[in-house]
């Protein structure tokens, strides 16, 4: 019973990732694609959590935290690039 519900939720995550891929490919501006990629990261986090229930293992639970941190750093880097054109700024000479 619970396995069927988990499989149905994985299928829903697949449909959600397909919709977000449409937004990543078509999206009219650059920040649209960045927001789509950020939400794909969120979907991957919850898919990893559900897959670790289905496989009855605890080994994947560290990947949740690491993927959250990587998605946040990616979003910050993209937004700094969109706003200023550089990611890591140089020291000013004044």
């Amino acid at each position: 019973m619970i396995e069927k519900i988990l499989l149905i939720s994985l299928v829903l995550f697949m449909i959600a990732i397909a919709l977000l891929l449409y937004r990543v490919i078509v999206g009219p501006s650059m920040p649209d694609r960045a927001i789509g990629l950020d939400t794909i990261g969120v979907n991957l986090i919850s898919s990893i959590a559900i897959v670790s229930i289905l496989l009855k293992t605890k080994a994947f639970l560290e990947a949740i935290l690491i993927l959250g941190i990587l998605a946040f750093i990616g979003t910050i880097a993209f937004s700094k690039y969109i706003e200023r054109g550089v990611i890591v700024e140089r020291k000013s000479n004044r």
Binding site: I15, D32, K58, S79
Partner: protein, 123 residues
């Protein structure tokens, strides 16, 4: 007891899955970058937090394994999801992405123009 724990887990996970699916439909259908960022940051954050709480209860109540990393992940996502959405929409406004044509008020526009004028005077 196991039936009760399973009911709790299934409840939390299904609520989270519904919220994430609604967030994806919102990113597909909404007309504008700012409305899309609104859907993505709030709804997807609540959905993934609910799914992770369900997984945490499954490992705690059924397999007797208290895992603090999932709680740390929930806390981290709760802090960083809305911050990421805010920074992304702010930088896209500064970079010049126009709001939807049905927008009535734009309170940020005079503020940004005032900031640009002050910076020109300083330079």
């Amino acid at each position: 007891m196991t039936v009760l724990a399973n009911t709790l887990v299934v409840l939390f996970i299904s609520v989270g899955v519904i919220f994430i699916a609604v967030a994806a439909v919102g990113l597909f259908r909404l007309p504008d970058l700012y409305t899309r960022a609104h859907a993505a940051s709030k709804s997807a954050t609540l959905g993934v937090m609910s799914v992770l709480i369900g997984v945490f209860f499954h490992f705690w109540l059924i397999e007797n394994h208290f895992n603090p990393r999932i709680l740390l992940g929930i806390l981290f996502i709760f802090m960083t999801g809305p911050v990421g959405g805010h920074i992304m929409s702010r930088s896209s406004y500064i970079a010049g992405v126009k709001p939807w044509s049905g927008t009535i008020r734009d309170d940020l526009k005079p503020e940004i123009e005032r900031m640009k004028k002050e910076q020109n005077i300083q330079d």
